[in-house]
Symmetry: C4
Subunit: 276 residues, 4 copies
């Protein structure tokens, strides 16, 4: 009898698991679509609340909404916990972490007023949207992108270290040239200006006034305008490489001479002629 009941329970858990985690069935997709809609609505509510005119007028309604969303997400979190095989694994997973972060701020706000602003973290939940689509193609595409970015991470690291060094040196130079009178009142602030200029953002809140400073700024701009070619070139070339993918020689190594540049289909070593 107990076994049977346990079986039913396990059965139910499996059904629930399918509904919540497996987005492939029609019900699973519906569940995910509703979830995404609720997530976007909850983020929208947090954003509207921050607008003064709206926040003060509809204060009560928004607070109620917030609590409703929090209760819905809490229930969902508990459901996920209950039907997953190893709860501890889910809790420590990326999605588990985000799901928890999405409900904590409201409870925190009882103790710490103002913590609600953290609710925007809920938007991270929108990443679940990729799961909803559940189209193998989408994942493949995302994987292409990730693979290309991963393959180019070393080059990008070199690029970023170079840019940060450049920006610090240029920022200090402009600090020496312009000085505090023209708004460059500290090196960190001058480095901030160098970043604003190099990335071609150009707020204009701080801008050089002396001819020499403007000349240096012109140099920074042209450097920034030019070196954007580097990350773009890296990512593009990597993407092209990832796509070529299979046609690229896989490093199949010869056991005799350790020569490694053989294609996937090679059957004999191209250096010593022994069988692979």
């Amino acid at each position: 009898m107990r076994l049977f009941s346990s079986d039913t329970l396990r059965g139910r858990r499996l059904v629930l698991h399918d509904l919540i985690f497996g987005g492939d069935s029609p019900q699973g997709r519906l569940f995910d679509a509703v979830l995404i809609a609720v997530i976007i609505a909850s983020v929208g509510a947090v954003m509207l609340e921050s607008v003064e005119a709206i926040g003060t007028r509809f204060k009560r309604g928004l607070i109620r909404l917030e609590w409703s969303f929090t209760i819905i997400f809490t229930l969902e979190y508990l459901l996920r916990l209950s039907c997953v095989g190893r709860p501890s694994q889910y809790v420590r997973s990326f999605y588990g972490f985000v799901d928890l972060l999405a409900v904590i701020p409201t409870y925190l706000s009882v103790l710490l007023p103002g913590a609600q602003a953290l609710l925007v973290i809920r938007l991270l939940r929108i990443l679940r949207v990729f799961r909803v689509l559940k189209l193998v193609l989408y994942l493949k595409e995302a994987n292409y992108l990730l693979e290309a970015l991963k393959a180019s991470r070393r080059k990008i690291t070199i690029f970023i270290v170079t840019v940060l060094t450049l920006v610090t040196v240029l920022g200090s130079l402009i600090y020496l040239i312009e000085g505090a009178d023209n708004g460059f009142d500290s090196i960190p602030r001058s480095v901030y200006w160098a970043i604003v200029t190099l990335t071609t953002v150009g707020y204009g809140d701080i801008s050089p006034q002396t001819p020499l400073g403007q000349a240096l700024a012109a140099v920074v701009m042209i450097i920034g305008y030019g070196i954007i070619a580097v990350p773009t070139g890296i990512v593009t070339a990597e993407l092209a490489r990832v796509w070529e993918g299979d046609s690229k020689p896989v490093k199949k190594m010869c056991r005799h001479c350790y020569h490694a540049q053989h294609s996937k289909k090679a059957r004999f070593c191209s250096r010593c002629g022994s069988q692979l």
Copy 2:
């Protein structure tokens, strides 16, 4: 007799159809060229009218011009309707829709003053210019572009969803850091700032004042400066793929001479001439 007259009518309709829709004949091209000129002139008139100094001075002339253009376009629309095979299909087509939109605002302005501003929609009609050129090459080029963009739409969707999520989270963060005193008076406004910064536009109407805010801004700028590589990489790689398309030799090998560089559609070996 009736048949004959109907024949003449059909003939005339064909001639008209050729003139208006088929831009290949010299007359057709002339018609299209004149049409484009009228479209640009009409858009120019709407723009000039909006300039206060000109709008008030030449008010009467401009109103007359507007009505002339509207009447011309209305006549053209009726002509197109009359000579096309299936009018309902034309009405529902993209060009039919735009052609109608181009005349409605003036008539509307009798009832609703100010609706004339919508006349700029007329510029959409300029897309007809591609039809005028009617060079197969141009269409082929546009198709290459469209095909590349279509092929990369999934990756671009992923990119845009990622950017929107990023911008919301970063905007909320800066809202928490800077607060209303420094111009970041609501989350939507802060998200707007994040978009302005991430896309490297950088108006400078809102800009961070605290050191922590400036540090976050620097991070946003560097992210924005870096991730522009992603859409560029996607489009470039797709374009390269579309171009390689057919010309990429598939390794179809000849059984007689083992020559391997044949295209997918090849039926005979290009070296020895034997059947593949």
Copy 3:
């Protein structure tokens, strides 16, 4: 005797021609290097003159300098005219035109004060620098670039027409949304704003104030941030194509079945098997 003198004259003309036009000999290179230095100096003088503090102080010296440069350039122009084979061809060539433009403003300034500002046209003469380098490689590289740009001119035309249409429509929309009170006081000005925003320049001299306007601005920015991928993709892919150059299948057509996709080395048609 007369013949001899004519011969000497022709000889001298050839020597002069070599010196001035043929930059390959050591003397020719020296001539070109000196010329470039004089050109840069003359442009620098014009620029300095426009700076008020300097212009008023060294007025006399600068005027003398300007006349010296003009006389040097006039003499050079006459020299070129005298030693070139067909003077009329030189006069109508690009360089001949620029050389003339470089001296006219000073003479004009006698009649029209202020015409000196046009002297900056002299900088166009700097294009001669490429001739100085006279390295086949440099020209080849420039040719690669030009060829790639030429090959992509159709796609770029399509892109620019699309951008201009977009910018007009978006500028009119923002004009309707924001209105004259927020600085968008005419459609041309609003279109100017749309260009400033779409190209991610973002001066901030006009910026939307209403939430709806800022939402539209955000859309414009994201479009601008995204579509920059298109020209970049076009140029990159074309450059890659130009480089592949020879390895690309040349359209060798079969005389029997008119099938065109054959590589340069193909000896038999891949569709009908007949000899090429």
Copy 4:
């Protein structure tokens, strides 16, 4: 006896050399890691000192810190000198030069107050970080980048000369159109504006006010938005070329089985194993 002592010395020098220059051993890596940490800390101290609120409050502490860092770096410099084979070569090398530059400003500041600001040059020392990583891969990646940039330096020179010419001509034009009343008070300043606009930085400190000026600005922006494709295209295409480099199969065909996909260095057929 003397020889022995000299041997010990040489031995010690070798150990020191390994520790300081050879980052491959665990001790060498630790040394480098500590060094990088000290470098970043010292740069941080210089930056903080420039912030007025901090600089005045912790003046004494910061000065002490600075001297400590300087003494550490001086000792390190002397150590390097002592254990390197040819000191003069080290002194003239890039790293030797930077290491010296990193200590001089503090000593200079005794004579010339204010020279400390030059201490940020210390950040250049961070380039040593690449040595710490000492991963062949990182260096290979950096080499790929450098090789691509080197290969494209001619095209980039042409691009920069073109941009500078363009910017001078456009800057002079806007100077003629807008004039000193709208902030364009000299040609150099107008050229500065043209650079700010062409590179899409767009500070907004100077911006055109007249319709004609704004029209020209729009043209500059669209040019700037478009030609960024050129350096990007160059770098991307070069990177792709560098990568293809060796791995591109040269069509070396096997005489026995007619298998064609062998690399240049292949000596045996990868399909049938016979000698090539």
